[in-house]
């Protein structure tokens, strides 16, 4: 009886894992089949007005890239503060708040940015999209930096101080270098996450059918356009949405895997 119960339990557990893998496989196969079927070289050469995706891919990368440019230094420096400088309650509070911010509803962040960066300026603009994505990114970077720095042995810091280096030199030249790989991984995972975000962009950058580098106007976004295209009745639009989804997922998963490969390499 005990052994049978155990067998049943093991079977159920393996079955659960198969269900999880099954969903991953199902989604990836769907993307491959539908995405590759509508994939053409012309998608990368034309903009959305001409039935291509070039402007959207470039636009999404610019939005995510600029957000990373804002979010990574701010998040890292804030993470350094709570791990290296902060003492007591205040650093603890910031750590807790950023923990909560990581799981904050992204649509609410979009609405927040809309209220101060879209509504007062009379319309959607790329800057608002960048702000929304960087707000998403900062807490993730803070958490990663914080936990990666906590893995650096205290002796390294003491050795640096003993050599007469000032504290910020010790942090920048020794501690950060020691935690470099871990932080890089965290940064790549965070980038992959915000690059696939839709909700914070819906009413901040919106999207555009044309190629644009002007952040003062509505800005082309791959994810928002996927949402619009997928809801259109024509089959051609939906095929385009599948091709775009395939490209987006491939981008996100490759960045993700590269990030994971980095840390595994070190071990």
């Amino acid at each position: 009886m005990r052994l049978q119960l155990n067998k049943l339990f093991l079977a159920l557990s393996v079955f659960s894992a198969l269900i999880g893998l099954g969903f991953l496989g199902w989604i990836l196969i769907t993307l491959f089949v539908k995405g590759l079927a509508s994939m053409h070289l012309s998608l990368f050469l034309n903009d959305l007005v001409d039935g291509g995706l070039r402007n959207l891919i470039v636009g999404q990368l610019i939005l995510a890239g600029l957000a990373a440019l804002v979010g990574i230094p701010l998040g890292m420096v804030a993470g350094i503060y709570i791990r290296e400088y902060g003492r007591g309650k205040y650093a603890e509070l910031i750590r807790d708040l950023s923990d909560i911010m990581v799981s904050a509803p992204s649509i609410v962040i979009g609405a927040f940015v809309y209220a101060f960066a879209v509504a007062p300026f009379g319309g959607a603009n790329g800057f608002a999209g960048v702000i929304a994505l960087s707000i998403m990114m900062i807490p993730i970077i803070i958490n990663t930096t914080d936990s990666m720095l906590s893995l650096v042995p205290k002796e390294l810091r003491e050795a640096g101080i003993a050599l007469g280096a000032s504290k910020y030199r010790v942090i920048l030249d020794i501690v950060i270098k020691a935690a470099k790989v871990g932080i890089m991984t965290g940064v790549l995972l965070a980038f992959a996450r915000i690059a696939g975000e839709t909700a914070p962009l819906l009413f901040t950058s919106e999207t555009s059918n044309y190629f644009s580098l002007d952040l003062r106007d509505s800005f082309p976004s791959l994810t928002v356009s996927i949402y619009n295209l997928a809801n259109e009745p024509e089959k051609s639009s939906r095929d385009l949405a599948w091709a775009a989804s395939f490209i987006l997922t491939a981008m996100v998963l490759i960045i993700n895997l590269v990030g994971r490969y980095l840390t595994r390499h070190k071990k």
Binding site: S16, L21, L97, P105, Y114, L248, L253
Partner: protein, 322 residues
């Protein structure tokens, strides 16, 4: 330099606090007109964007029969609305009422469906990863599950709408866009997150405890049930609540599937709407009081997920660390 760097790092850390307070105040200020107009009654009012004669809004607790009819039957409601609109413009003594009950109920119900669906499977996966699989298999499956978590939510939405929902509606009947399909796709989405955090909690169980149980002749099932589960119970509950907090605020996967209809679901297979979807769908064309009401919904969502996440992080998961 030292001082400067310290100041910069302090300022960046403070930015988090400022952002959080900024989100609260901005949402509150933008929601203020709706809060003043509808008060807390907003939460239990199921009318959204409906014209009501002025005299009846003073007595908002009693609902007009027309309002109920309109909620129950959409297509007829639309025609009614148009006729009402024309009449109202002539009469000019009506006003528009917004209530948040439908999206609030939709959010909670879709999250609960997701949780019911994901919980047993996530627990199974966590046990598989932590206890059953060999190191290499566990690593491989672990990465696969984390990749599932990395797929953008909009992809879940599209896949759900075109491939998952038809199967569900064939099996359970009803519409393809419904509370049920939205909840299940949401469940698939939170599954990997829940499994990963639960596995981490289970891994905190000291090997000595497990080994002594095995030495006494316990089966794997007994070790999981009597050693690992009691030991990591608090952490597991914390990860479940954390996953719930994430599900509450999920927009894109649900937007494709819930139907975006302002009516309370009578059956689980009826379409309805959730707070994030209401914001995603209606924000673009909203203005004035309608926009303010959406901000009010956003504020409610933010407070809800803030409370749930804090509960998970500070009550349950903190106790694990210490």
């Amino acid at each position: 330099m030292e001082k400067l760097f310290q100041k910069i790092s302090f300022a960046s850390a403070t930015l988090v606090l400022i952002l959080l307070l900024g989100i609260f105040t901005t949402l509150y200020i933008s929601a203020k007109p709706a809060i003043d107009e509808f008060g807390l009654h907003f939460i239990v009012d199921k009318r959204w964007n409906q014209e009501v004669p002025l005299t009846q809004t003073d007595n908002t607790l009693t609902q007009t029969p027309t309002a109920v009819d309109e909620n129950a039957d959409d297509e007829i409601a639309d025609e009614d609305d148009m006729i009402l609109d024309e009449d109202d413009e002539e009469a000019a003594d009506t006003k528009t009422v917004y209530g948040g009950l439908v999206p609030i109920v939709g959010t909670i119900l879709s999250t609960l469906i997701a949780l019911t669906f994901a919980l047993p499977i996530a627990m199974g996966i966590a046990v598989f990863l932590a206890e059953i699989a060999s190191k290499n298999v566990s690593k491989f499956v672990g990465i696969a599950i984390e990749l599932l978590a990395a797929i953008p939510s909009i992809i879940f939405g599209m896949w759900g709408l075109y491939y998952f929902a038809p199967i569900i509606s064939d099996t359970f009947g009803g519409y393809q866009v419904s509370l049920l399909t939205a909840g299940l796709v949401l469940g698939v989405m939170i599954l990997p997150f829940m499994a990963a955090v639960t596995r981490d909690s289970m891994n905190t169980t000291p090997d000595v405890l497990k080994e002594s149980a095995y030495a006494l002749g316990a089966t794997k099932f007994e070790v999981v049930k009597d050693v690992i589960f009691p030991y990591s119970k608090v952490g597991i509950i914390g990860s479940i609540i954390l996953a719930l907090g994430r599900a509450l605020g999920e927009t894109m996967a649900v937007a494709f599937l819930i139907g975006a209809v302002y009516s309370l679901p009578e059956k689980i297979t009826d379409p309805t709407i959730s707070i994030p979807v209401a914001m995603a769908v209606n924000f673009g064309e909203a203005s004035g009081l309608g926009e303010s009401a959406l901000f009010y919904l956003g504020l409610i969502l933010f407070v809800m997920s803030f409370a749930v996440i804090s509960l998970a992080k500070f009550y349950f998961l903190k106790r694990v660390k210490s």
